[in-house]
Subunit: 261 residues, 2 copies
DNA sequence: AAGCTGAGGTTCAAATAATGAACCATAGGC
DNA sequence: GCCTATGGTTCATTATTTGAACCTCAGCTT
């Protein structure tokens, strides 16, 4: 692996910890030598990607990503374009609607809209969505090239609940269904008692960039209702994509041919 | 320079461009070989720090920094803590108040509050503040260790207006004044007709992390008024620092001894 | 249509930078 | 005063990075 990759993985590891850590821990967590970890941290610090607490000597994410994020969002405000769609869907569905974005090989939650009712599903911004066990993950995978599906299903698949589907063959079946109808359904895949439906937001080349998902308590959600949520998520996702990518002309490869090529 | 440093500089360069650029341009701007630039871009893309438009093949900042920024801000919400202070100062001063943060060797604007009047100074979020020619830059430098002041003043200093002070000796004089009274004043240093006063937000160890600045049209600003703004900026900066760093105990080295050591 | 131009992208021997075992320094606990 | 654990550093060894030259393709010129 390249040095750059290792340094960025360190940054990623650091970002996933819920507390500041010292040099020794970082080295251990990243499977790096202490000297190497230190050199990376110094270099990352020089550029503002990490900072070291001058007192405790522990490290945390620095302010450079904040600056980059501002620039990216200013030039490419995905979230601000998507949020109104998510809000609208939360209103009409009266359930929790969340938006995820694919980044660095993972699908992470970037926005959540709660419906105005007490009994609802709680989703945290920033939470990561396993591909095999969430509606968003399935919706995302279903529209990925075959090679990436294979890669995702080769990894060990965690069984989060009694209902989590972990058999790669069965998952492929779910992906086919998803691709056919335009949205996925996860029946208690990540957490018991929760059902959700999701549809991918796709770039003009057909590649998914994230997902819109509706999550509801299983107890009050009928088969008809979850399919309706799925269709609405699909409409929202398409709306976001259209507004975000605007008049960008489609590439030679059409969305249809791109899927699972 | 380390490979990591070069890759992060590439990212920095990419972030400073106001349009998406192709491989050849990036290589030229970063003084890198085309093959090297490409390897960096591929590696950065793998981790979501850049993305390539699949159609135009140009590169832009990716979404990974957005994720990191969210995490940092969630754990360490500098801006959300500082904004109320900036807003309050914009109200009482009735002038533009902006907040900057030091990152990657530069001071960049991270928030601006406009006062409710038509004739006012416009400052853009994201703009970089030269150390020698802005109130923020001077306020920041004045509380830095001597070695860093020397380093900053060794570089060639651009003369932005007829009033920009570029003589290192004179600048040191301004820094001494600033350190003594707790805030800096820039008299048309960056732009003619603008006067501003700034004070540093300092970490518990005394190190400045950013600045609060008030910028006003020279035409309506008296000597007394700008000193008043400076004092208010200082109060705001101290308020932010206190709220941000909270109960963090000071290190052995006190703020006083740390200055220009 | 043939030939050019300049873009993105790739290869592989040579050059350079990364690596990590062993080291030092310091702080806290006993 | 010793022990241990932490952060931090050194330098000979080793693996990665480097870049000139190359390929490929799309658009333009003649």
């Amino acid at each position: 692996m390249s040095t750059i990759g290792k340094a960025l993985s360190l940054l990623d590891t650091l970002s996933r910890l819920d507390k500041e850590v010292g040099l020794t821990d970082i080295a251990r967590l990243c499977a790096l030598d202490k000297a190497t970890a230190r050199r990376f941290l110094v270099e990352l610090e020089r550029h503002g990607f990490v900072e070291q607490d001058p007192d405790s000597r522990r490290y945390r994410i620095g302010s450079a990503p904040v600056r980059l994020a501002r620039i990216r969002e200013a030039r490419y405000p995905f979230l601000s374009i998507a949020v109104p769609f998510i809000k609208a869907l939360a209103d009409t569905s009266a359930e929790t609607v969340h938006l995820s974005e694919f980044s660095g090989g993972r699908l992470s939650t970037i926005h959540v809209e709660d419906p105005p009712r007490a009994h609802r599903i709680i989703v945290d911004v920033g939470s990561l969505l396993p591909f095999h066990a969430t509606a968003s993950g399935l919706a995302f995978l279903a529209f990925c090239p075959r090679a990436e599906i294979d890669q995702a299903l080769r990894k060990p698949l965690e069984k989060f609940t009694d209902h989590t589907v972990v058999d790669p063959h069965l998952i492929r079946g779910l992906l086919d269904e998803t691709a056919a109808r335009g949205f996925s359904i996860s029946h208690q895949g990540l957490e018991a008692g929760v059902i959700s439906a999701a549809a991918p937001v796709r770039a003009p080349d057909g590649r998914p960039v994230g997902c819109v998902a509706v999550a509801a308590p299983l107890s009050r959600t009928t088969e008809t209702a979850i399919h309706e949520f799925g269709a609405q998520a699909n409409a929202a996702a398409n709306g976001i994509s259209e507004k975000y990518y605007g008049s960008e002309r489609l590439t030679g490869t059409s969305p249809e041919t791109r899927r699972r090529d």
